[in-house]
Every structure is written in C-alpha cells, then in structure tokens.
C-alpha cells in the first residue's frame, strides 16, 4: 500500500473457540467449614424442578482473558488512537484526569440506596454539577436520571406531554426539522406523539413560514438543535420561539450540538423550555464504544415540577438531600440516580476548564471546524450545500454527489478509504437532506497538523477516485479487516447474533440444509 498506516490484525479466536475443561481457575469466593455445611443444606433445600444443569460458558485462563481483550482493543480505532471527526458526536479528547477522579473508592463503592447522610459526597458533586449546567444552558433545574441523550429526550417529551395534559389538553403532535437527529422523532414517538417534519429552507434552516402553517393547538412543541446538524445557527430562533409560544407550545433543545455555543450563548436565553445535554459529547466523558453516556434533562422554572427524580437540594440543616418526588413529576425513568460516574467525569472536566476554558472550547471548536472546511471546500468536486459565506459552527456538511455521478465512487467508499490512512470516517449520509453527505466535526482538541493531514488526504482520495477508482471502492485494506459484508450480515439465512445461533446454523449446514 501507498501509506504507512496499519491497524493491528490479530488472528484472534473467540472465547468459545479456546475453551478447555478446567482451564479457568479464577474464583471470587473463599470457603470455610461453616459455609461448606451451609452450602450443602441450602442447595439441598432448593426445589429440584428449578435446578439448572450444565451450561456452555467458556473456560479460559486469566492470561488468555487479558490477552484476548487487549488484542481486541488493539483492533479498535479510538480518540486515543487518532482523529475521529464523527459529526454530531463531538469526539473530543477524553482527559485522562477525568478517569483518575472516578477511581476514588468512596465514589465507586457508594450504594444508590444508602442513607443520604452517608453519601453526601455523591450528592454534593451532582449538586455542584447541576449549578454549572444551569449556568451553561440558562435552565433552572436538571435531573441526572437520563442515561444518554435519547433518554433525556424521552424525559423531555414526557414533560411536554404532562405540561399540556395538566391544562386538560391532549396535544398529539411534535414538530421536528427534517435535519433533526434520528433520536428526536423516535423519542417523541415513544412518548406517544405523532411526529411532523418541518422542511429546511434554502439556507438549510427551519422554514419559518412553513412552521407557522404547521403550528396549531394540536402541537405540543418543537424539538430543535441549534446550531442544527448542518452546523448552521438557526438565526431566526426568535421568530421560531414566538410562533411556537403563540400556541403555548414548548421548545425543546437537543443538546447534542452544544459544543458550538457553550459559554457563548444559552438555549434558555433563546426561549427554550427544556434541554438535554450529552455529557459524553460536550463535557468530554468517553463514549465507551456506545456508552455509558449521561443525558441530564433541564427545564425552566415553570416545568421543574415535571422533572423525573432524582432532584438534589441543599439546606444548612439537612445537608444535601433528595427532594421527595412531586405528584406532578413525569415519574421515574430509571432506577437510582443516573450514570453517576459519568457525571463525576463531566464535573472533573468543567473544574479543569472553568467558564473561560469552556468558552474557549467552543470558540476553538468552531475555529477548527471552519478552518478544516475552508481547506476542504477548495477540493474539486466537493460541494458545500447551503450558504457558503455563512460560518459553520462546530461541524459542517459537504456533499460528494458530483463525485458519485462522475466516478461512481460513493461517500461510503471515500469514508472507507479514509480509514486506510489512519483516520476515522466522518458521519455519512446524514443529515438526510444532503445527498452523499459527509458530516465532519473536528472538535477543539484536534491538533492543526492532523487537520491539515486530513484535508490533504481527502483531496488525495478524491483525486484517486478519478485515477484509480477501484482503490477507493476496495477500501479499506489497512484496517483489521477488509470491507465487511453487510448484506450477508443482515440476511435472515446467515444472520448470526450469538455463538448459540452460530453453532445451531453450522449444525444445519452440516446436515446439508443450508
């Protein structure tokens, strides 16, 4: 190959393929005579009809477990490995100091049902973090119950529902822009709403005139992210708010894109009533390959009574305490208090930054985004849909449709080819309103050298599409595996979701049935 990147490529078997009888020797218990005699009694008292026979968990040694997962980790691209500009995901550096903070025993070993007097430290951290989130968003209270952004959206939509129900109104519609994150319509639908999409106008912004037509007594509210997924600030936000408010609709702010404006502008000041934040995006907690995240939901004063538990308060007499759940709350949305340790990491991050550092993060995130855009938009065949003179915010969306038309090389092909050069691909084919979309969010923590290399590489790949398209279409070659067969993966006949199913299907094939 013509470049130096090589991802690790271990021929690593599955745990089920290296199991040997009695190979594992790890125990978490220690016996003594008292417990052995209790064991015999306890087991013989169990109902025979409920006793389990043998089952097929693999038996492997500790060294094999460590090697297995270490090798797997080496076959996994991450922020610690390199540039990961997934749009709307805010893959910024996850400070290792955050991780240090959550190794503190008093935090790791706290039980969620301990008496509040014994978990004052946990409550104080959440209380302090809540104050900071209020300052950043202009909301008055937050609940930390939601475990992720979509969970926060679900809570927010239930709040919209309850708000109207309490007025005796059963409103059935939530409006979302056609550029919205997929979770927005899904969350609204889960909360029992019908979803109506408002189109984007020629500027890539909410079509305000159309919104005006759609708005009515039946609309519970509007879900919006600002800046939107094109990285454009909804500059007519004031009109939008007025239109929604004129029918007493609520405004929901999807905080996925907050990294563009934290410390610069507040959703609360713009008129949003409900906000969810993604602590695993804006506030630098790691994504863990798909979680755990944390999606606290915040509201303005008049909606506090609807928040899901827990809400934490402080008084000099009582110290920190959980407020009793109010009658008007939407109710519990999960057991216990949310993904607490993720909240601690976000608190650690905000402590490091302070207000000024937070503002700088957004400023530099937007600077690097526009810098990368200005380099990329000069690449031939790349188009920038919507007003090219308007600065983008933390992310931007280009289209590769010209390339597809002229070379039959798709956005997906280019994305795969980027992997060959040691970069993660951007978000592709989203938002849905841009053909062959490439959605790039560099974040403030990407060194300029990497940004330059990324733009140069993209230029090279697009050139390659014209000179040797096959190279691009056959990408990636330098990753742990070559292009994955998604069709086979999804075909009902070859769909394998577990080792159990695999052995079953192999059995079938041995009988000559498949």
């Amino acid at each position: 190959m013509n470049n130096e990147f090589r991802q690790a490529r271990w021929a690593e078997p599955l745990l089920f393929e290296i199991t040997r009888k009695n190979a594992g020797n790890y125990s978490t218990v220690s016996w003594n005579d008292i417990l052995i005699s209790s064991k015999n009694r306890a087991i013989s008292n169990l109902p025979k009809n409920l006793l389990r026979g043998t089952f097929n968990l693999p038996e492997v040694s500790e060294v094999e477990v460590i090697r297995h997962f270490t090798r797997l980790s080496q076959m996994n691209y991450s922020v610690s490995t390199g540039f990961y500009p997934l749009g709307s995901c805010t893959m910024k550096y996850n400070p290792v100091g955050n991780e240090e903070a959550v190794t503190i025993n008093e935090l790791m070993n706290a039980h969620p049902l301990q008496d509040p007097s014994t978990v004052q430290g946990c409550l104080e951290i959440l209380y302090r973090l809540e104050k900071m989130l209020c300052s950043v968003t202009g909301m008055d209270r937050f609940s930390f119950a939601p475990a992720a952004g979509a969970h926060g959206e679900f809570a927010g939509c239930l709040i919209m529902r309850k708000y109207h129900l309490d007025k005796g109104e059963k409103r059935s519609v939530v409006i979302v822009p056609d550029s919205a994150h997929g979770t927005n319509p899904a969350s609204a639908s889960m909360a029992g709403f019908e979803v109506e999409e408002v189109e984007s106008d020629e500027h890539g912004l909410v079509n305000v005139e159309r919104l005006k037509e759609m708005m009515g007594e039946d609309v519970a509210g509007l879900m919006l992210t600002n800046p939107n997924t094109l990285g454009l600030f909804e500059r007519r936000i004031k009109e939008i708010v007025e239109i929604v408010r004129s029918y007493d609709g609520l405004l929901y702010y999807d905080g996925a894109n907050l990294n563009a404006i934290a410390g610069i502008a507040r959703p609360g000041d713009m008129g949003f009533d409900i906000v969810h934040l993604n602590l695993h995006k804006t506030f630098s907690t790691p994504h863990g390959g798909g979680g755990p995240g944390s999606g606290p939901v915040g509201v303005k004063d008049r909606l506090i009574k609807y928040l899901p538990p827990p809400l934490i308060s402080y008084s000099p007499e009582r110290g920190y305490y959980f407020e009793p759940e109010g009658k008007e709350s939407i109710g519990r949305i999960r057991a216990f208090h949310g993904n607490f340790l993720v909240c601690v990491k976000a608190y650690a991050y905000l402590l490091r930054l302070g207000w000024r550092g937070l503002k700088e993060a957004s400023e530099i995130a937007v600077l690097t985004s526009n810098y990368l855009l200005s380099k990329i938009k000069t690449i031939e065949k790349v188009t920038l849909p919507y007003d090219s003179s308007v600065p983008r915010k933390h992310e931007f969306v280009i289209s590769l449709k010209k390339l597809l038309k002229e070379t039959s090389v798709s956005a997906k092909d280019v994305a795969k080819r980027l992997l060959d050069y040691g970069f993660h691909a951007p978000t592709i084919y989203f938002p849905l309103i841009v053909e062959e979309a490439f959605m790039i969010e560099p974040t403030e923590t990407e060194p300029k050298r990497e940004l330059d290399r990324y733009a140069d590489t993209l230029r090279k790949i697009i050139n390659e599409a014209y000179t040797s398209a096959e190279n691009v279409k056959n990408a990636p070659q330098n990753t742990s595996v070559k292009r994955v067969d998604e069709v086979k993966a999804n075909h009902p006949r070859t769909l394998i979701l577990s080792w159990k199913i695999y052995t079953k299907k192999i059995g079938v094939s041995n009988n000559g049935d498949a």
Binding site: Q74, I264, E444
Partner: protein, 461 residues
C-alpha cells in the same frame, strides 16, 4: 504572542497555529465566527462558575468532596435491590481501562472497530448461554429501562395493554415500567403470592385476558425464589401472552435460566456481573429474547452480528438489523435508544470469561450458602423474625426486630458502622417494619456474626 493565553488545557494549538487558522478562514477575530448569532443572545457577563483548576487541584477537590461519603469498606454494606456490592476482578478493571475501548464511538465503521464489535458479540453470546436465550442485544441503560422496553415490545406485538407483574418487584423498577408504558396506554396489575412462595396461579389465570405479558423476577426484591417459576410459561402462553423474567444474573449459576423456564424475554442488571456499584450507574441493562423473527424485528437496542469481509476471506463482526433503529427508522423505530452501556457489556464479557461456568456456579453456591447461614443466625435471635425463613433465598431476605421500627433499627445499625438493608415497611404493608438485608461474596460468616452482634445491641434496654 509568545505566551499562551488560553485557559483550556486541552486545546492543542499554540498562538501561531490559531492565528494561521484564522488567516486561512479570513477572519480577524473569533467573534466573527459567531456573527450569525443574534447579538441579544451573546453572553456578556461571566456567571458564577467553578474552576479553572489544574489536574492536581481538581483531583484534590473531588477527593475532598468524595471523602464526605461513608461507604464500603469503612461501612459494612448490606443493601441490594438490584445494585450489588461485588468483588470487581482486576482483569475486569484492566479491560474497562483500555482506552481503545473507552474512547471509541458506536462502531459505525466496522472495519476499524472490530475490537469493540467482537467483544460485544461475545457479550451477546456469553449472556445468551447464561440466559438460555439465543438473542441478546448489546445493552440497555439498566434493568428498569430494559423492563420498560420489554413490556412496550409485548404491547406492540399483542396489541394488548395489560402487563401483569409478580408482587415483590423492586419499587423503582415498577415505577420506571409505569412511566415507560403510560404513553401507549399500558397498565400494570400486580399478581400476588401464596404463603408457600408460589405466584398465585388462580389470580394469574383470572387476569390473563387482554394481557400482553407476565413479568416475574427471580430472586424477587424479598430475595426468595418463586417456587412455581417453571409452571408460568405454559399458563401465560395458552392465553397468547408473553412471559418476561427479570433475573439477578449471578443466580443462574444454579437456578434454571429464563430460556429453560420458557420465558420469551429476559431482562436484568448486569452490574451484578463484576462491575462496581458506582452509586447506581453506570449500570447495564440486560435484554434477551427467543430466536423468533417477529420478536427480533420488534426488539429494541443494538445487535452485533457475525459475518465475513466481502471477499469471504476473514470472519468479522458488524452492527445488524439497524433498520429497527432510530437513525434509520426515525419515528417508526422500535426504540429511541442510541448510546447505551456498551463498555459495561464488555466488562461483563470479561467477567464471565474469567469466572467461566465453574466460577459462576461457585459464586451462586457461595451466596446461597451465606444467605442460608445468615437466615439461620438471624432466626436464632429471639427478638428477630425472618418471616419467610422457610423459603429458599438468594442474597437477600426480610427480617423484623421485635419492638423496633425498621427505620430505628437501620439508624442504630448505621451508628455501629453497618448499612443494614432496605426498609420495605411502606412498600409492603404485609411486611410491616421489615428490612431486606443483603449478603454477597464480599461478605462471609464473620460479617454475619458482626451483624448479629450489632443487632443484639440495638434492642431497647
């Protein structure tokens, strides 16, 4: 411009680089980048805000706040209810620390993310063996939300709105369930127990009409194992309803799996498989179902499948059946879930691999043994009553102290350094002034003796 003026320690640019970038864009000040935000929204006053702190100062501050907690091992901890104090093996910690797992995103580019995909496939596979069901998703937020989603799924599948729930389901899970199904007009009805620890079959049969699913936990929040678990599937299926079991997964080292009991769906809390308590989160929602095409199409959450590369030369893994998910199906998705608890699932995969079937069976035996011993020792105290002592218990059991309210017992125990358990008197009137206490592998018979000695001292003099 030779001094760093940025406060943010994680911005990697020096002043020259920032100036260069601004020049390339063609701006003179960073404010220009925000020129499309109406002026009235630009924050001009700095609010009260903590920081900035150096890493050392930050760690010190969090350490100082955290030390206001009083937790295990300074306290002897005996609460469970879905969050269990476990010994966390060093190997699990090591796997969770791998920053290639920790700092990656959802594996949208499978070729560069085989590590996480393989590990999640193994989580699904290990859990499938443990649960006796073929299909496990790669995680939900926690047990309670997995339950909420499971019930929504059966309501979708049957078109019926009623969910029957065995009594002694942990209160916070029931509350979450209600929140989840309320928007689709779902209703919950409780089914009681007979005195011999069996789910009341007469009551169940009377209520099975128009029912989407029966949900039963084992062990339940009082810690006993429902004696007729193996009878339920047939009864429920006869009426076209689904059986959902909630399970504390470590018990499966000994007790029949949801699959063996005929359950259609299983949910549970994965924290119990070797993860730290963490004040209740990160948790790990377990969600599994039978290999049935209709159920599969309707299930929530992410699934990882085994496949090959397009040339058929190498086995690999990728996310599958994404057409059920929000980023493709939007408002028609089976759930809105996106970010889940993937890293925790990998930790659990490492735990299950490390313990294997032998280690897991031994763990369950130990907990049965210790619980049995604790019940015996508690029952020997003439002022303590263990109302259900005759039933087999796992990890938790309820007791009362004569002449003392549950909250008094708990606060007196706390003064002696023992977090005694969970007060259920207000939840279950039939167990007035009862405390559900909990013993895991972190405890031993000495912890029991210590607890018993403390109990003897809390009696009114």
């Amino acid at each position: 411009m030779n001094q760093r003026t940025l406060v943010n320690p994680f911005i990697p640019h020096n002043e020259e680089e920032i100036a260069e970038m601004m020049q390339t864009i063609g701006i003179k000040s960073l404010e220009e980048l925000f020129s499309d935000i109406p002026r009235e929204y630009i924050i001009t006053e700095e609010p009260e805000f903590e920081g900035p702190l150096s890493e050392k100062e930050m760690i010190n501050q969090i350490f100082r706040i955290a030390s206001k907690n009083l937790t295990f091992p300074k306290l002897q901890l005996h609460i469970g209810q879905g969050a269990y104090l476990r010994y966390v093996p060093a190997a699990v910690k090591e796997v969770l620390r791998r920053s290639e797992f920790l700092t990656s995103y959802t594996p949208y580019q499978p070729e560069a993310s085989q590590g996480i995909l393989t590990a999640l496939f193994e989580y699904q596979s290990l859990m499938a063996e443990l649960l006796g069901l073929e299909i496990v998703n790669s995680s939900m937020y926690d047990w309670s939300t997995a339950l909420g989603e499971a019930c929504r799924m059966t309501i979708r599948l049957t078109g019926k709105k009623k969910i029957l729930v065995g009594r002694y389901t942990f209160k916070q899970r029931l509350e979450t369930l209600s929140t989840y199904i309320e928007p689709i007009s779902g209703v919950v009805r409780e089914i009681g127990y007979t005195p011999d620890g069996r789910l009341n079959i007469d009551e169940l049969e009377q209520n099975l009409n128009d029912t989407a699913a029966l949900y039963v936990e084992y062990p339940n929040s009082l810690g006993f194992i429902t004696q007729n678990l193996d009878e339920l599937a047939d009864i429920v299926h006869r009426k076209g309803a689904y059986l959902i079991t909630g399970v504390e997964p470590t018990v499966l080292g000994i007790i029949k799996s949801p699959g063996e009991l005929g359950a259609d769906i299983a949910v549970g809390e994965g924290q119990s498989l070797g993860l730290p308590l963490s004040f209740g989160g990160p948790s790990l929602g377990i969600f599994a179902c039978r290999d049935d095409p209709k159920m599969l199409r309707n299930m929530p959450g992410r699934l990882i499948g085994m496949t090959e590369d397009v040339q058929g030369t190498r086995r690999c893994f990728t996310m599958v059946l994404q057409t059920r998910e929000q980023h493709i199906k939007r408002e028609k998705a089976t759930s809105n879930i996106c970010t889940n608890q993937a890293l925790m699932a990998i930790g659990v995969a490492a735990y299950l691999a490390l313990l294997g079937k032998k280690g897991l069976r031994e763990l369950a035996e130990y907990i049965f043994a210790l619980t049995d011993y604790a019940i015996k020792r508690f029952s020997e105290l003439d002022f303590v009553k263990v109302p259900l002592a005759g039933l087999p218990h796992y990890q938790e059991f309820a007791y009362t102290v004569r002449g003392l309210a549950a909250h008094e017992v708990l606060s007196k125990l706390l003064k002696k350094g023992i977090v005694g358990g969970f007060n259920i008197s207000e939840i279950y009137p039939e167990f007035r002034e009862a405390i559900v206490t909990c013993f895991t592998e972190v405890h031993d018979n000495k912890s029991v003796e210590n607890y018993v000695a403390a109990l003897s001292e809390v009696l009114p003099k």
